[in-house]
């Protein structure tokens, strides 16, 4: 009966359970009557995007050393790249968009096919990671929004090994996999994340984004939200890890795996967006 309410910060009692999110769902044979009783559990929202053209090449380093100029060029490129496609050189230097100055949540679906936003974030071991460095090295980059206390994330690391399996599968194969925690509360704590990383035998780093700037720019609402960036700097896929948000499908379709395979084969990524699912990213509530 009441109009929309904003989620408040009143009485921010954090319950004990979130550290140990028991009863996390696991993939199992569908005992529930989705087809008859709960048709809404499917997420038939995948859309097909045309493959974007390759990016134009500009002088190396500008994007990083001259942010304002880079921003202007990136914006220009955002608008121009489809109209004036150019081939990347073998040296493979890319220009990315700069992170937006405003802290508004982008719409991930609308980013697919556009140029990725460059960022530098520090991981839980103190190492810095710059997106454009990996792309310039010819790598495909996978971003995985992460929260060690989110039951969905927990499930993909403990009930199944969805993420670790893909990291192992593609780790030697020109793919850089970066987990990103955009949480501003204690779920974004470096020690908690590093402890979890070791406990879950994660071979990939967890980058900390406490201001949420990177998460907001990429329109990440959920943990996990997945973004696959082609080596040319184009966002090739954004969305859920798979079509199993209900954890009910025995054989889910993994959109990230399909996107990486397509990029490695030099072919078109058929599904550029599929609805992400999971917990809300714990952005700052200011």
């Amino acid at each position: 009966m009441s109009p929309e309410r904003k989620l408040g910060t009143k009485n921010c009692r954090v319950s004990q359970e979130i550290d140990e999110p028991v009863l996390a769902p696991r993939a199992r044979k569908d005992p529930f009557q989705y087809s008859t009783l709960n048709p809404h559990m499917e997420y038939p929202m995948s859309t097909t995007r045309p493959r974007p053209s390759l990016l134009a090449v500009v002088a190396a380093g500008i994007a990083i050393s001259l942010p304002n100029l880079a921003n202007a060029q990136a914006q220009h490129q955002h608008e121009q790249k489809d109209a004036a496609p150019q081939r990347a050189h073998e040296t493979h230097e890319v220009t990315l968009a700069a992170l937006p100055a405003t802290s508004t949540l982008a719409t991930l679906e609308d980013l697919v096919g556009k140029t990725a936003f460059d960022f530098t974030l520090t991981d839980t071991e103190g190492n810095k990671h710059t997106l454009s460095d990996s792309l310039n090295a010819g790598k495909i980059v996978v971003l995985e929004w992460f929260n060690p206390t989110c039951p969905y994330v927990v499930s993909h690391y403990t009930k199944s090994s969805t993420m670790n399996d893909l990291v192992a599968k593609y780790g030697d194969d020109n793919v850089v996999w970066l987990a990103i925690n955009s949480g501003s509360d204690r779920t974004g704590d470096s020690t908690l994340n590093e402890t979890t990383r070791k406990k879950w035998n994660m071979a990939h780093p967890i980058l900390l984004d406490p201001t949420g700037a990177v998460g907001l720019a990429y329109g990440s609402k959920n943990t996990p939200t997945m973004v696959v960036i082609a080596a040319d700097g184009t966002i090739a896929y954004g969305g859920g890890i798979d079509n199993n948000g209900s954890f009910s499908k025995p054989d889910p379709t993994n959109y990230v795996e399909i996107a990486i395979d397509a990029l490695l084969a030099g072919s078109h990524v058929e599904t550029g967006f599929a609805k992400p699912y999971g917990c809300a990213v714990k952005y700052s509530r200011k």
Binding site: M1, S2, P3, E4, R5, K6, L7, K10, N11, C12, V14, S15, E17, I18, P21, V22, L23, P25, R26, R28, P31, F32, Q33, Y34, T36, L37, N38, P39, H40, M41, E42, Y43, P44, M45, S103, T104, L105, T107, T149, C150, P151, D185, T187, G212, L216, K221, N222, G245, S246, S248, Y277, G278, C279, A280, V281, K282, Y283, S284, R285, K286
Partner: protein
Amino acid sequence: MFKTLALAFATLLPLGIPGQVGAQAHSKSSDLHAQPRLVAEQMAAKPGQTLWIAIDFTIEDQWHTYWPGTNDTGFPLQTEIEVHPQIAAAGDLLWPAPHRISSPQGILDHVFEDHMTVLLPLTISNNARLGETVSLQVSMRWLVCKTACIMESAELSIQIPISDAIGRPSPQTAAIFERARSRLPQPITDSDPVTITQEGPSLTLTSTPAERLAFYPSENSRPPRNLLRDGQAEGQTLTIEFRESNDPILGVLEVWTSPTESLLYTIHWPPENNEPRAQARDQELSSFTGDR
């Protein structure tokens, strides 16, 4: 309709207590943030009639569960219904209209707070015999969230005797069903004060008695382009831009006629020639009301 019982949660659950008649609560489990119970509208059921069961959740203060429509996070109650097919058949669940909530960044969900009551129709077989018992078992799991989310689950059962003397619901039971039905959206009829017009990708919903309007899209609806921006409006008009798609626009329209009172309508656009399911449900409801 007799389904194999899901065993996956058996070790995690306090089990319901079968074998009691009428409204049956879950066994005490105070650690659940959303506490479910099954409530039958009557103490007994007649052959051939529709008996309504409420799956009634009491939700802890500041926590919420999810509506099975368009949401950025979470997922709704999942149920497995088990009832002996020679005695009764379970129909589709009727969901109440949700509340819309959003975070400061614009993560938007449609949820239930305080209470969530989902109605389940049981059609009693004409062949059911007096003295037999309808034994209903409902296995459920759901996500309940505050700042963090927890998966909870339960298995509830209820037994209702087949009898000619169905009795009258207690005031408490009647109140549960009255509250639940007050949140059920209804199909728009010619006499309702709602008009819908489409212009290009945008749908405009107008209602003259409205102080405020909100649209809650179904999961399988043509998706709005910016639900955060377009999903609600003050005044008498709500214009929503949709993405290109061949899917129909489906969802619930809430029309506030005062700060505390609202009307709820199902939206199906373009309109269908007829809505057999909605009509059937109306008939079911009215015939049951008559039976009382």
